[in-house]
Structures are given as C-alpha cells and as structure tokens.
Amino acid sequence: MSTVYESCTTDYLTEFDNYVDHSYCQTFTPQVSHTMTSVKLYVRRKGTIGNVTIGIYATSGGHLTGSALTSVAIDGSGWATSPAWKEWTFTTPIFLTASTKYAIRMEESTFDVDNCPYWGVAYKAGAGPYANGNAESYDGESWTGLTTYDFYFEDRGHTPPVDIVTNKILVAAGNNEIWYEDLDTAAGTMTELTAANADVDTSDQLVIFSAFQKAFVVNGSNLKIADFANTKIATTDVGSHPPDRGNILTGGTSTASMVVDYVTSVTADAACTVYGYRTTTATFSSGETVTGIDDDGNTISFATSAAETAPPHWYDWTPYGNDTTNYGSMPSEAYLGCRYRGRCVLSGDTTHPHQWYMSKIAVPFTWKYDSTDPLTAVAGQNADAGEIGDIVKALIPYGDDFLVFGCADSIHILDGDPAAAGSIDEIDNSTGMFGAQAWCKDGQGNLYFFGSGGLYRMAGGRSKPENISIQHLPKWIDDWALDPSLHRVVLSYDPFRNGIIISKTPLVSGTNLNYFYDLRTEGFYPETYPDECAIYSSVNYNTNSSSLRGLIVGGKDGYIRYFDDSAKDDDAGASGDTAISSYVSLPLIRLAEADDMEGKLTSVTFVLAGGASSGDFGDTDGISYEFHVADDAETCLENIRDGETARESGTLSGTGRKNRIRKRVRGRWLGIKLYNSTATQTWAINLISGEVRPAGRIK
C-alpha cells in the first residue's frame, strides 16, 4: 500500500479546463526523498476524450522544464462529468529527491475547448493552500505561476528500505577540548563538545575508548564520559528515593518515559541529574512530576527543574550516584582504558602501575567486588589472575576472547573472564611495548607493535612476538633513538592499502620519521611528512559515509587528515600544500660477472606508468634519473646517498615507453636513482631495462 507524501486536498474552488495552448501543471517539493509510484488527481470530463497522460517534470526557476521524467496515460473516456479522484500508476516509478521542486503536468495536445479534461483546483489568498509549490498555467509559449491556486493532487509512493541500524561518530581530543562528529549537520563535520572545554588535559597522557554508545575519556584523574545516547533530566530535589539503575521513570504531564542509566547523586532530597534512555517520542518537560518505582519497591517522585536535554552530554565518570559504599571505588587516576567482555577496563595508575581494574559486566558505574555475582567487578587484587608483574603500557582487547597487556618489558595475555577462572600468562619477556598507541591490528587479526627491537608481529594476537624488522632494519632502534618523554610512536593500519604506518613523532619539535610496512610485499618504505602532518593519533574509521571511510590520522596542528591517492602534495595546514620529495635507488646492478671486470651500460629504456597519455590508465608525471658507477657496491650506494655528482642524469616526461637513452657509463657497479620533488606531481614506473656490454678489467 502506497504512502501519500505531498498533497493538496483543502480549500477546493472549481475545475480548470486543460487543452492545447491552455493547460496547467502543479509544482510540488517532496519533504522526504521517496519513490513516486503513482499520482492521484481530482478530475472530470467535458465532451469526448480519450487517453489522458500525466507526466512528472523537473523545474528550473520554479517553472516546469524539459521532457517528462516519467509519464503514463489512463483512459478518460469513461470519466464522469463531475469531479472524482483518478489515479495514474507509473510503469516506471521515479525517485524524487527531498527539497527538489518537480511538476505534475496534464498533457493537453489532443484536446480542444469542447472536449477536454478538467482538473480540480483550490484557492487560498496569499500563497495558496499548498506550501511547497503552486499551480502554473501555459499559453503555448511560457509558464506562469498562479501563486494563490493549487491543483488537487496526491503524490504517492514509498521510501526505499534502509539497512542503517547504527551511526558511527568520530570523537577527537586536542587543545584540552573534546570534539565530535555532528551527523545532524553533515558527516565529516566536527564540532566542539563545549561542556568538556578545559576539563581534560591533552598535554598529559589520554586515551578514549567507546562502550555503550559513550566515549570514556581516561586522562589521569580526569575520568569523563561523553554520552551520545542518553537523555538528561535534572531536579533540585530528587525526593526520598532516588532512582536505581534500570528503573523506569515516566513524566506525569508529558508521558515521556526513560530507563535510568546513571545519576549524579543518590542522596535523598538533594539535587540530582538523571541520564537515561528515553523510550518514547514524547519528551520530558520542565516542572513536571516524574515518577517510578525503585529496586526496593519505593515510589520515586521528583519535579524536573528544566525541560530535558538531548545528547551529547559530558559528565564525570564515577560509581553510580557517586556512591562508593554500594558501587565501589574507581582508581584515583588511570591512563589506559578499553572495553573487554562488556567490562570497562582501567590501568596505568602511576601509583599502582601493575594493577588493572574492571567494572561489572555491562555496567560502567559499578566497581564493587561481589563474590556471589558472576558479573561482578574485578581487579588484580581480588582475582585469581592477579596483578601484572610489569608496568602496564597498553591494553589491547581481542573481542571477548582475550586481552593483551603490553608492558614495559614483557607481554601478557588475560584469557577469558578474570572473575570466572580467567588467567594471565606471560607470553614474552624479551620485549615490551613502547606506548599506548604503539600497536595496531591488521585485517586478519594479527597484532603488530613497536617494541625494544623494532616491529613485532603476534599472529592472531596471542602467539609469541616475532621481530619482523630486524633482518632488513637492524639499526632501526639506534636510528630512531626513541625517548618516551620526547617521542610518541603510533602504529596505524591502512585497510585500503594493506599496510601499516609506524610513526615516530616528536612531542615538542624535530623531524618526524615513519615507515610504511607493506603487508603484501613485506617491505619497509621510509617516509617523512611536513611537521604539521606528523601523526599523533590514528583510527581506522568504518563510517557509513563511503567517501569518509578508511584510515584517518590526527596531526600536530589539530587537523584530521587521510592519505589521498589523488593528492600529489601534503596539505600542511597553515604552511599550505607542501611538495613530496620522493626518491629511490634501484637495487645495485652488477655490470660484469667476474670480480675484476667492468661493464659498460650503452643504453637505457624507461617505461613510465600510464600507457598512452590521457588513456584509461592513470598517467604519471615526470621523473628525474641519475646514473652512478663505482668499483664496489657500497661506494656506489654511498655516492647516491651523499649526493655525489652523477655520471649521467636527465628528466623524463610523459607516459609509456620513452625513447632509448644512449648515455654510456662504465664501471663495476651501477646505481640508478629516480626522484621527483616537484609540487603537484606524482609518479610511478613500470620497467627499466638496459644494454650492458663487457668493458675490460677494472682500471
């Protein structure tokens, strides 16, 4: 059964006749995007008529324009001479976009003044009875608006099914502020959660994890919640029986209803703010009496001091109602947090660095241990698993299966639930984890982290760590000379490029250093970014908006960025677009087999990416080349790295196979360097080949 979206069915006046050079249309603007399957008009007949065709048209400048987007005809010969509703069902339904004006036109070319259809019309002084369009008349040359008239019509159809059941919201922390993605404005638009301003210290360690439609901020003694789900109501006097978590409250005037999630106080007859999930479309109003029944069967009753407030909300993360007697105590400070098996996990308390704390399952506000409750809150001191024997530096949950503790000098794994025979085992004591963001997972669930010897991989997240960088980068640790007080290490998984970025970011000043580890080729590729683009944080954002999906990184200058294949430069914010200086030395080429012999390169052919210019394949920009030779490989590579004058050099432009380069160089080892540091240019190369001939002994 179809739904009526737009219509005019009031203030009826009369019928207008419709024939050649004397015809009409009705413009309308859908308020909701939908598929129009039919249109109903209030019509009658004069004389003898045949088929009556209705078309839907686009508009321009408020008037009908172009050809029909869709149309259908019905037989009008049997119509009565008094008006009645008739329906035209389109063979090809049309999708109408909200806020876009369209027109319904009754085709007139086969009718005359004595034999024609009449269309029922309404009138209302001012702007006519229908607010989102008007009747229009056509004299054979142009359309004229009849702003006080609207034809009787019904726009019928349906909205396409949607599979959206969740929205994703990005939350970011910087400059002592919390910002969030405002989906009501547009996806990708960030706005400040003003209540959080100066309530966090981003110069101190800070992590955020999500659970129960909230963002939990863990920032030392600043334990906070950004709540995106609950409705807030407040009262200056909560009455004798403050609500318990899970109680249902109902507004006496509004009939609004909510399920209580958290309250700021459980003190009777005191001020209290209640956060709960509203289950009705009705909203709580100011000054109304809210009632319910608490867990002990007592009546809850209080008056709201203001109308309800919609999310997001910002408040202190405390035990329920700040009642430590009944709901336990949270650590006085924490710097690490995550969600594991429905529990909120905290660690990184500097006064208790080996300790970990977990809330009750599915209840972030209960921290009291109860040996009779299988869902009880639990901590290292009251669990068989015990505390970690090392300083905890990272928490890495693997679903509901296990939790990895990345520590200063070891890796531990908690298997299962610590309140139900879960155990903590040491997996490795030869390496630790650099910091809270020095890890990531790939698409297959393998864990990567930066440890004492470089980049490590734990297959499936729980096997013994394997150093995968030591073979190719044995000096990585020496070269980076990391100091936790001066540097941050961030690992970022890029799902679209199947690789991991390992970033060394100076906390104050200095050059950022990065490696891209390609999971497909298992190769390491060094990278440098403009100072503003140094990576401070990252997340793999699987948002509903496809154009915004993928790895996003937090920069040193406060901007969120992503790696864009179409970007040939780096957007360095205030410094503007910055050229990417890219270069590569090919694997050195032995020009002769025998140790004391030389070879002569007589020609080289380059095949650049892009095929024919402007064809189907993406075209490279130009690149420059250098040829270096030496008697030994190390000197040859050193010459390239030290910027020694090349034996031969040049620049290539265009795509595809280039003309053969007949520059000759002689030596034992050949090094070829390719490079481009020009703004607004990028490059790729398919193949390099050359002709080499023997050239005698090394002189």
């Binding site: 955020i208 080729t521 200086s581 075209d619 990028t682």
Partner: protein, 74 residues
Amino acid sequence: MEFPLPIKGESHGFPVDKNPPLTSGYLNNVRATDVLEKRVRIGQRPGQDKWGNGDQIGGAEQPLVFLCIVSKAV
C-alpha cells in the same frame, strides 16, 4: 636486461652487494603500490589531505592526541 624495481622496500641487514633481491638501500616517500592504478611497481606515496569538513580540533595548532569511534543506535 631488465633492471629490477625495489618492490620489497628498504634493506640494510646484509652487505650492499648481497642485499636481498628487489630491495633498496636508499629511498624515501615511495611505496611498492602506486597511487595511479594500485599496481605493485614503485611510485610516490599518496599525499595527506584534510579529512571531512577540514575542521581544526581545538581551534588552534595543537596536537590532535586521540581519535575514537563511538557507535550509536539510529
């Protein structure tokens, strides 16, 4: 003869004349997979561009220290 491209990235763990095949001793800002067609053949890395509406978190040039995703029911 075809000169191999270093699609296996950087390597410093062996003598220069015995480096593993398809590796390079000197490179920066290139990746094995190019940005034009995503083929494994060597090319310049993708540039960084502002995400979404380009809002500056904190309204000042201060580091963006953490990013998190919250799932919310429609």
